[in-house]
């Protein structure tokens, strides 16, 4: 389905993503892990075409999307939804309007400029919100919501696009453990129930292990690991993060249970 071939992105002399190739054959939930600056965000932004690739190709279902422009590119973007670490919602607009932004590509520019969305879209939006458990907040402004709720609005917006792929760039990095779990559960559920492909950049190993079918590890722009969660041992993790022996997973864990243990460890 998704074929990445020799994808490279250079910022000046520095290659943020360096000759990355991998193929995803069937709908799956894929985690991308790696240290800060490893190139995870850049990779996802290239897939969504928010950033242009320097070299290489991205092909989806046989179609090369790497060099689409204009409305073809926008069409592709509407098929591959993106979720951001900082949610990237419009804070002064209400929740449903934010979700409805997922339909912008489909609807005429004119009518959307005046917020004239079809009633069935509005109903769908509220259904999606309901599915994510935040339908009650529908009329509120996005900025009035908590982080976890905002991220769920972002997921709802992604679903509203009815995309084939959902790209999630560290969706839980700004969230507390409680909300992190809710958001990851939601993503997994969408993957399972709707059969959409999910590619999520993740900061923490245990999240990747717990939710993903396949994990890609990046380091300095290159893919250094590609396998199932089981294959992701502490030794491999040390390689990915370039860490020494003092590396302990617990310090970066966001699992609620792990957290309680960690606290013990600190105070003890």
């Amino acid at each position: 389905m998704l074929r990445i071939e020799q994808l490279t992105k250079r910022f000046g002399a520095n290659a943020a993503v360096d000759n990355v190739s991998f193929t995803i054959d069937k709908t799956a939930m894929i985690g991308v892990i790696g240290a800060s600056g490893a190139g995870k965000s850049t990779l996802l932004r290239m897939i969504n075409r928010l950033a242009d690739a320097s070299e290489g190709t991205i092909a989806f279902q046989g179609r090369d999307v790497t060099r689409l422009t204009g409305s073809a590119r926008r069409k592709w973007q509407s098929e591959c939804a993106m979720i951001f670490q900082q949610f990237n919602l419009v804070p002064r607009m209400d929740v449903v309007s934010n979700v409805l932004h997922g339909t912008l590509n489909r609807r005429s520019t004119f009518s959307t400029l005046f917020n004239l969305y079809p009633t069935e879209d509005i109903h769908t939006a509220i259904e999606i919100l309901d599915r994510l458990g935040i339908a009650d907040h529908a009329p509120k402004r996005a900025e009035a919501l908590s982080g976890g709720q905002q991220q769920r609005v972002a997921i709802a917006r992604a679903l509203m696009q009815d995309p084939q792929i959902i790209l999630a760039d560290e969706p839980i990095a700004s969230l507390d453990p409680m909300n992190a779990q809710i958001v990851m559960d939601a993503l997994r559920r969408i993957h399972e129930e709707d059969g959409r492909m999910v590619i999520a950049n993740l900061h923490t190993l245990d999240t990747a292990r717990r939710y993903c079918d396949r994990v890609i590890g990046m380091r300095m722009g290159r893919v250094v690991f590609d396998g199932t969660p089981d294959q992701l041992t502490t030794g491999v993790a040390r390689d990915i993060y370039g860490a020494g022996a003092e590396f302990s997973e617990a310090a970066t864990s966001t699992d609620i249970n792990a957290l309680a243990e960690a606290r013990h460890a600190v105070t003890a």
Partner: protein, 441 residues
């Protein structure tokens, strides 16, 4: 981190040095300002001000703002007597009528002034000013002006030459020349503010207007009273209202037009939206240019194309403010949060949609509050611009000032202008609070 090597003495000296510096600054800044003001004191000739200042002018002005005068004039050749408030035609008493302080008995006219003063117009082109303390001053045309006063020396309130006599007291004023003899008597208030003498409603109490019998057979009291008030030929309340309206209209059209023009241009001037340096710099220089050319200059330059009137003023404001608002908007645009735009872009939104949802909601509060602020301050500018293009209350005001006599009208306009500006200030405050707190779209 304590530096052990520093001794107490060192520290004290360091502190002393610090204070020397501070002292220098805190003395130097006021000293420079003082020096500048001293230079200005001489450059602007403040000393000469006392000499130039005309207290009597100030008094006239102040008196005119709360009082008016009625002229009783006798044309010396024909002997005809006219009585008119402020000497204006529409405020002339009809032939054969007179106010109760003027008694006309053939050629003899007795004019009572306050404080026991009075003036007599006698036959043979003679007039007598009766001053209760000073005594009678008799003036006669023979054929030049001759006077007869009880004392030898002329008091300083009498100005006399063989062609002209001018007596000014706190009670009133008498002038006599070969052409005419004239008495001014001052009254409290603005003359004929509600109705002129020819209106049937003149002097009618409000109570009677509302509930009394119909005064004019053709019109109901309230309608008639309103018509006569609105069309008052001395005060022109209707025209003044139009002028105020025109002034606000200039401000409104100018500001809103400028906002509508400036918004799209501001995108071209903002770094984050127009990467092409040439375009950006060009638009910015255009902004700087129209901002630097004041609305006043635009007003003059546009007067050829559009002639006098409110549209010219509105266009001048529009041009200048396109520059100011454009600059402010583009600054606001450079400060927008890219995350929101990216979020909207990632859904495949078209460029216009990107601006509509990624940018506009963010800058709306800045935009609205600036536009409303400009609207308010442009009301003041429109007053000034009107004085030059020929429109609105500003023109009425300046022209009334130029006549140097219609001070009661000047006060009326000033009051209206202040009320108008305060009203716009209040209105823009309300709108700002409503719109910015409320929905952002």
């Amino acid at each position: 981190m304590t530096d052990a090597s520093l001794s107490m003495i060192d520290r004290q000296q360091a502190a002393q040095a610090l204070f020397k510096r501070k002292r220098l600054i805190s003395v130097a800044v006021p000293a420079v300002i003082l020096l500048y003001l001293t230079y200005i004191f001489f450059a602007f000739d403040v000393m000469g001000l006392a000499e130039r200042a005309r207290l009597d002018n100030a008094m006239t002005l102040i008196r005119d703002t709360y009082s008016y005068k009625t002229h009783v004039t006798r044309a010396n050749r024909s002997g005809e007597v006219t009585i008119a408030k402020e000497g204006e035609r529409p405020a002339t008493w009809p032939e054969g009528q007179s106010p109760d302080w003027v008694a006309i008995d053939g050629e003899t006219v007795t004019i009572d002034l306050p404080r026991g003063h009075s003036v007599l117009f006698l036959p043979d082109q003679t007039a007598v000013y009766r001053h209760p303390e000073f005594g009678d001053i008799t003036a006669k045309l023979d054929p030049s002006v001759t006077i007869d006063i009880p004392e030898d020396a002329l008091p300083e309130w009498i100005s006399y030459s063989r062609t002209r006599l001018d007596i000014r007291t706190e009670a009133g004023r008498l002038t006599m020349t070969r052409a005419k003899t004239e008495v001014f008597r001052y009254f409290f208030g603005w003359e004929l503010f509600w109705y002129t003498l020819d209106s049937p409603y003149h002097g009618t109490p409000v109570w009677t207007l509302l509930f009394g019998p119909q005064i004019d057979a053709d019109r109901s009291n309230i309608a008639g009273a309103w018509q006569d008030f609105w069309a008052n030929p001395l005060w022109h309340h209707g025209k003044v209202a139009w002028a105020i309206g025109e002034t606000i209209l200039m401000a409104f059209l100018g500001t809103m037009g400028a906002a509508l023009v400036a918004l799209p241009l501001a995108f071209l001037a903002a770094r984050s939206f127009t990467p092409v340096v040439v375009v950006r710099q060009l638009v910015r220089r255009v902004f700087d240019f129209v901002r630097g050319v004041d609305a006043l200059i635009f007003t003059i330059l546009l007067s050829r194309a559009f002639g006098p009137g409110p549209l010219t003023g509105a266009l001048a404001i529009l041009l200048t403010d396109t520059g100011s608002l454009g600059k402010l908007f583009s600054e606001a645009l450079e400060n927008v949060d890219q995350k929101q735009i990216e979020g909207v872009s990632s859904t495949g939104a078209k460029p216009l949609q990107r601006y509509r949802f990624g940018v506009i909601p963010q800058i709306t509060p800045v935009l609205l509050s600036q536009v409303l602020y400009f609207l308010e301050s442009n009301t003041r500018s429109a007053t000034i611009i009107g004085a030059i293009t020929g429109g609105g209350i500003g023109l009425m005001l300046t022209q009334a000032i130029i006549t140097q006599k219609d001070w009661e009208e000047v006060s009326y306009y000033i009051v209206l202008i202040v009320l108008m500006v305060i009203f716009m200030d209040w209105l823009s405050g309300i709108l700002r609070r409503r719109l910015i707190k409320g929905g952002g779209h």
